[in-house]
């Protein structure tokens, strides 16, 4: 179906279903309950982040997962994409189509330049170079490029911007030919309140398309070549293949994915700043990919969702919420626990992220997908030993 084999198509359908039904699935608890307040994730602002960062990490995984080249500067493409989109809003109109198109194109061009230089070296040199480029972009955005980036204030749309394609009566928020991004339909059922927002659905559809394209790339001869590069560059070139254009193509594709994500972020909320290009942002992309499972199809989506979900929960929790959780304990234990947890919550999210980062690399280098497979294999073995006399099926 759609050029996918059976199991890929199943995976694709699952992702489609999850993305489209997310406003319902992510609200398991009644909206006003305590659990719902803390753990529900089905509201637009957060779901947008799930899918947009999903796109970003799917793209990152095309580079890192397939070729093994670890880019530490991917946030730069995200930032560039956002700037391009906001400029389109400023110059043309709030229509998201030119904004998203330009963000992809600009990020693509930017990644051709950075990729051309960085890909001259491999291994850690490549990681260092991409990190340096991202830091350079970040610093330029804060200094000389202030006329373009609006420096520390951040870039946003002002009333006196040209917006030459803007006609009277056009919405003054990002829209798709009049279909406003922030319009939503609400549905109340019992204690549940489901919100379906236009912006989320636009981003979700882009995520589904991105995911589909990623599957096709993974299963294509091009994807196979990229895996071959990761496996053995010497044999690759003595097989008559030029590794450079393959690498550059992968780098640019993944840069364009990041640009798309940046454009969508701006389309959801038409302002942006240089902090999107900071090294912690690049680091976060890497954690998402690793946590989910590098080189797997579904891993990046899982990783992005999980990190953004944790970020949301962890930053929402404060001491008084903790005290209410531990209320059943004796006071001294309650205070002690809250004292220990305090640095990791609220504004301490980055600390938690750093620890999570280390924990995943140390204990689960294959990410959640591999972890899941291991657990699955454990159960299978158990089943097999239960039915030891049954004929064992040859592996595939």
């Amino acid at each position: 179906m759609l050029g996918l084999n059976k199991s890929d198509f199943k995976l694709f359908l699952i992702v489609c279903l999850l993305a489209l039904a997310a406003p319902i699935l992510l609200n398991p608890f009644p909206t006003d309950s305590a659990l719902g307040q803390s753990f529900n994730a089905g509201y637009p602002a957060l779901m947008q982040r799930f899918v947009i960062f999903g796109i970003l990490v799917i793209g990152f995984n095309i580079l890192f997962g397939l070729t093994g080249y670890l880019s530490f500067g991917h946030a730069a493409f995200l930032g560039v994409g956002s700037y391009a989109a906001v400029w389109m809003f400023k110059l043309l109109s709030y229509n998201v189509v030119p904004a998203i198109l330009l963000s992809v194109v600009v990020a693509g061009v930017f990644s051709v330049v950075i990729g051309y230089v960085s890909l001259r070296r491999s291994g850690i040199y490549f990681s260092i170079l991409t990190l340096a480029f991202a830091q350079m972009s970040y610093q330029l955005a804060y200094s000389v490029l202030t006329p373009i980036t609006n420096g520390e204030t951040g870039l946003q749309v002002y009333n006196n911007d040209p917006q030459i394609l803007m006609r009277a009566g056009d919405p003054t928020v990002p829209h798709l030919f009049g279909w406003r991004m922030n319009d939503k339909t609400e549905l109340s059922m019992g204690g549940w309140n489901f919100v379906f927002e236009n912006g989320y659905y636009l981003a979700a559809i882009f995520m589904i398309i991105s995911f589909y394209l990623a599957i096709r790339i993974f299963r294509s001869p091009f994807g196979m070549m990229l895996r071959a590069i990761k496996s053995n560059q010497t044999r690759m070139s003595y097989t008559g293949l030029n590794t450079k254009p393959y690498m550059l193509a992968a780098f640019v594709i993944s840069g364009m994915y990041a640009g798309l994500a940046g454009g969508l972020l701006a389309a959801m909320d038409p302002l942006t700043g240089a902090e999107r290009m900071f090294w912690t942002a690049s680091g976060e992309i890497v954690v998402m990919a690793i946590l989910g499972g590098v080189g797997t199809l579904i891993g990046p989506v899982l990783g992005a969702g999980l990190i953004k979900y944790l970020e949301n929960i962890v930053s929402k929790i404060n001491d008084s919420i903790l005290h209410s959780w531990f209320a059943f304990m004796p006071d001294w234990l309650d205070n002690l626990l809250v004292g220990i947890i305090h640095p990791f919550i609220g504004k301490g999210w980055h600390l938690t992220l750093g620890l999570l980062f280390m924990a995943v690399v140390i204990f689960l280098p294959g990410g959640l997908v591999q972890g899941g497979q291991k657990i699955g294999a454990l159960f299978n073995r158990k089943k097999k030993s239960d039915a030891a006399d049954g004929a064992t099926k040859p592996a595939e």
Binding site: R120, S122, G123, L131, Q139, H350, L351, M358, V361
Partner: protein, 343 residues
Amino acid sequence: MDAFLLQILNGLDKGAAYALIALGLTLIFGTLGVVNFAHGALFMIGAFCAVTLQRILSFSFTTIDETRTDFLGNPLKVQTPYVESWFGPELGAAIQDWSVPLAILMVIPVMFLFGWIMERGLIKHFYTRPHADQILVTFGLAIVIGELIKYFFGANPIQTPAPQMFLGTIDVGSWLGFDRGAVAYPMWRLVYFMFSLLIIAAVFAFLQFTTFGMVVRAGMADRETVGLLGIDIDKRFTFMFGLAAAVAGMAGVMYTPILSPHYNIGMDFLVLSFVVVVVGGMGSLPGAVLAGFLLGILQSFASMNEVKALIPGIDQIIIYLIAIIILLTRPRGLMGRKGVMEN
């Protein structure tokens, strides 16, 4: 000409900091084969050792002076630092004044221990893992260290002044026959430069003239063979990690009067130091030092107003530009050897 000299001088202290961090990075690559993205964080921990010592030294107890009153008419509360009550007001004040240089005494054992624990507890388990994993785990560690520092010391830069006697400037120009006051150079920067030269010389002497250093150099050239000689290379490498951490820490301590430490300086310096290592040539100790000073001086030239007027923003990106040019023309860096970290 005098402006020229001043820029060279201005570049020296920054270059010295780059060189010291790059030296530590190169030692760790060369000996352990590990890419340490947390090395900037070690520099930062050193800097915050100075902050900590400054705080410790200003711990005070409060006494009530009945003879004087504050503006509300209550008896005046007087804060007396413990050091002043222990060593007498004069010596106590001097000790506080000298907190940054004194912090060196504290930073050497602290950083050495930190490096030791880091190598034994974390890095050791990553020798056989791919470079990407090493980068990632140390990168995570750098985030954790940075955030912990932010948690304990806040996000704002903390002033840590140099001792009073080094606060002035030296008229370097008048020594060399320029006009009086044309080349005024802050005294502490000169101290920093001298200090780093001393450390660099000490590290090179250590590697050159001790048997321990000889084994380490041999190990950098060919790890397996040295292992076969029956020398416990691992223990020595652990020591090298501690040493590299101590060098980074000392570089950080002494840099605090020049740049007030905050929780992000670790990564700022790390990125630049990595560029320095790449420019100097991966695995080459002299290359790291040379490139450190070179880039420091070039950066200081690029921040001259005349240059900035010519090419705006050049001061922000000069180092990266140089790195790109070097990589495109001499892919192995200025003094790099073939086959280092090239998989």
